[in-house]
Every structure is written in C-alpha cells, then in structure tokens.
Symmetry: C2
Subunit: 218 residues, 2 copies
C-alpha cells in the first residue's frame, strides 16, 4: 500500500497521500549547501575588509540564517500539512531532511510551533542583525543576542523533545542521525552559543563604561 | 475504575495510578499565591527606596520568578513521571494547575523539555538578575534580557503547541481555561515582553554612548 512505502522512521508511521521525492537526496541537500555557501560568502564579502575575520564570518552566518529561516523554515511553517504530497525543490529538501526527523512529515505540534517562530521572528531578526553590523547600529549586539538565544533555546528544546520521545523519529543510519540530525542541529547550538557569549561581552563592556560617572545609570 | 476517575481533559485520558489531591484546590492555589506575594514584596522591599517604583516592582518580579521556576518548576522537572500518584503540597499544586493543562499529568514531551529549561536555566538566571540589580552590576540588563526572552519564547511555544493540539487539554470552565491557562501564562508574555523592551532600551543607550569616539567599537 502506497501510504506505508516511505523511508521515514519509525517504520510503522503512516503518511496518507505520500508522494516520493522526484529527485535524489543528494540533489536536494546539494542545493541547500550551495545556497547556504553563497549566502555565507556574500555576507563575508559585504562584511568589508576593515573588520576582523571572525566578525566577517559572523556577518556571513547571519545572512545564511536569514536565508534558511526565511526560505526553508518559512515554507515549512506555511506548507507543513501538505508536505507528504507536495512536490518541488523545497518539498524535496524537507523530504530529504525528514529522514533524520520524521516529525517534519507529520506536522508535529512542537516542531511546527518552533519552526514558525524561527521563520517569522529569528529569520527577519537575523537579516536585521546583518544590516545592523553593516551600519554599526547601536542595536547590533542586542540583535545578535536576541537571535542567538532564540536559536539556541529552540534547538535545545528540539533535541530535548526528541530525547523525551526516545530518539524514535530518525533513520538510525549514521549519515542521517549523526550527519543531518546531530551535525546540522549541533551547529545551531555551537555557533549561537559562541555568538551569545560574544554579544554579552560587548554589551557588558559598553554598560560598564556607561555606568561610570557622569553617565551613572539608575 | 480508579484510573479514569480524575478531573482532567480530554475526559478520555487515562492516568494509571492516579491519586486525587488530599486538599481542596483553593488551598494549593492559595499557598502559591501567598508565597508569590511574599517574594514580590521581599524583592520590592530589598529594591531600596532610591530606585523607581517600576524598578522595585521588576526586582520583586525576578525574585518571584526565581522562586516559581526554582521550586515549582524544579519539582516538576524532577518528579513529572510520578505526579499522578504523588502526594504533598507541590504535587497538589500541579494537580490543581493541570486542570487547566493536562499535559502536566502525562509527561508531555514539550512540556517537560520547556519546564526543565525554565527550572534550571531561567530560574537561577532570574535570581542572578535580582542580585545584579541590587549590586548595579554591568550585566544587569543583559541578564534581564536573557531571562525575559527565554520566558517569552517558552511561553509562546507553550500556547502555540496547545493551539496546534486544538486546545484539548484544559477544563473548558472559564476559571480554569481563562483564569489559570490564559491568565497566568498571559502574565508571562506581558511582563517579560515589557522587561525585554526595557532591557533593549537601556543596552542600546549604553552602546550608543560607547560607540562615540574615543570608545569606537569594532
């Protein structure tokens, strides 16, 4: 029967109306990797030669996040109910990733809620962070802190809910579990963690200077 | 049969081992209200007469949050699996609140994950925020921002996941749905939202002053 002929875990999952991806998984993954690398490079290039390499990399990161949150997660937040039957590149990208987490195929309550906030809050705020650093806007580290804490907390809950569920939604093959599920999402724990600490350091330095008389704050 | 004789929704829920609360609901709710009011008042009093009323209220709020996150949510994060059969004041408090959200009675994946982060991250950080304002520490607004964004995001996901689930876990009586579920949790959207905006304003002001030469930041 067509509804159980799918690659997702647990294998007992039924996905009414499921249509297999039209392209091989490596093409979907490759398209995301190429788009992501392009945004990272564009952010780096626009970062300007006067900034430190770490700051230029962070600029690339926020442009990359704006793209991924806005396009991939934006599509998911609007179309998740249609995903099993949907066709097209973005549907195929999610069908490929869902091998590592089938909660994306079943409109899981937490996954939809978290991805919707990510798409519509952290996506635009990532782009604003990118712009704020380009313009040296006084809100730049505040934005970096907001986006990074949002990503970090969302990702911690993403791992924790799956741990609660007994890690039951991923293909156990190392490529899917360790590469996609742990690897990709681990990146969104590691980098936001570093950027969060960096933002706190800069904001504390500014506050410290501001607190000295005659700027004594309440 | 004892396992279905409970006050929770949906009415079809089965709670093996469930033991009814030993005290009436108003006693459990009253104990929390009295403890919360005491912490709020203590925070206000320790805030000191030289600070503005709004800031003293915020001091009380962070002490209140430290208590609620640390004690109530700390207990839940450790004991949620035993809750249906547990006795004692803290179990009775959760059995009373769960009338407005039965996910607390069933160790719901998201609820446990979110409450665990709230207990062990936002709880201690709330207390640090309280201390940081007492001492005028340069990290005070950073801590206020971290705690408030964490509470706000957790609460948005809390409402959003229940919306996804069709608001099926609450007793539909206005006292439980509007009073406990919407009212109490709405407070944790409203107050953190205001404190988040306040922290951003103060941090931007300090950064703005710091960015002027000769403090020009990278």
């Amino acid at each position: 029967m067509a509804t159980t002929a799918h690659p997702y875990w647990p294998r007992s999952l039924t996905l009414p109306g499921y249509v297999a991806s039209a392209r091989p998984g490596w093409q979907s993954a490759g398209a995301v990797a190429a788009g992501g690398a392009g945004l990272l490079a564009l952010g780096w290039a626009m970062g300007g030669a006067t900034r430190s390499p770490a700051r230029r990399l962070a600029q690339g990161w926020f442009l990359l996040c704006a793209g991924i949150h806005g396009v991939l997660e934006g599509w998911f937040s609007l179309r998740h109910r249609d995903l099993p039957a949907a066709t097209g590149l973005l549907a195929d990208v999610w069908k490929e990733y869902a091998k590592a987490d089938s909660r994306y195929m079943t409109s899981d309550d937490f996954t939809v809620a978290m991805e919707t906030v990510t798409a519509w809050a952290w996506g635009p705020l990532s782009f604003l962070t990118f712009l704020a650093f380009l313009r040296q806007h006084p809100a730049r580290y505040i934005l970096q802190l907001l986006v990074s804490l949002g990503q970090l907390y969302g990702d911690v809950l993403y791992f924790a809910t799956e741990a609660q569920a007994g890690w039951s939604h991923s293909d156990p093959q190392p490529f899917y579990f360790w590469g996609y599920f742990v690897g990709l999402n681990g990146l969104w724990v590691l980098v936001p963690g570093l950027l969060l600490a960096d933002a706190c350091r800069h904001l504390a330095r500014a506050q410290c200077a501001f607190d000295r008389p005659p700027h004594k704050a309440r």
